[in-house]
Symmetry: C2
DNA sequence: AAGGTATATAGCTCTTTCTCTATATATCCG
DNA sequence: CGGATATATAGAGAAAGAGCTATATACCTT
């Protein structure tokens, strides 16, 4: 059976946009001082700015995506980097194909 | 780009349950006097009863699914029958595979 | 140690969603 | 036509979600 929380996380234009940007972070975000955009993920402020929302709002969206297992977060120093969890997303795609 | 309304429709255990039941209406609902369970769809009261909610609540869920294009409704006499829109669901699956 | 930066949490408001009851509409049947 | 049945709509209350500002926490740098 599906976890409806997953679809809840996807039921938001802003969060869908984040997932889209995170497919290719280098194309969508400026270079980061610490942390590799691809290997580590993208920091919250970049996402907040590009999304046009306050930082706590971006944090909330990213935590929603993380709770649904669609992204992972990695804390490095004072930064938290978020990236897509491609394994989980692939698993979700398989489940959608098989069960929806 | 995704329509977040579609995921909103899926972001509910009750609505996911309805979609699941509608995969095989004969296995999940009693025979209907008028209207074929498979060919026409399932009437609202059967779904409301099985779901354990009041009839207007079931109507609301079904309308949400219909607005998202996941089910279609057909009025026959005093009944409204709802069934899965397999074409639209297949299209959604393709989009998930390609874009998520 | 002190100041600055990045993120998270708290708390508030506004909007949306879910559920119900009551009622309206539409259809069927005697 | 009149009563019964099926569905839809209206309206209300409770809960959840999205956004903000203010503040706390954690880390870095000097």
């Amino acid at each position: 059976m599906f976890d409806s929380e997953t679809f809840g996380a996807l039921a938001s234009p802003k969060r869908l946009q984040i997932l889209e940007w995170l497919k290719d972070p280098v194309a969508h975000f400026p270079p980061q001082r610490d942390g590799d955009l691809v290997g580590d993920g993208v920091c919250v402020i970049f996402i907040a700015d590009k999304l046009g929302v306050a930082q706590p709002t971006a944090t909330a969206h990213l935590q929603t995506l993380a709770r649904a297992g669609l992204v992972t977060s990695k804390r490095l120093g004072q930064w938290t980097f978020y990236k897509r969890d491609e394994r989980a997303i692939a698993a979700l795609k398989r489940q959608v194909r098989a069960e929806l």
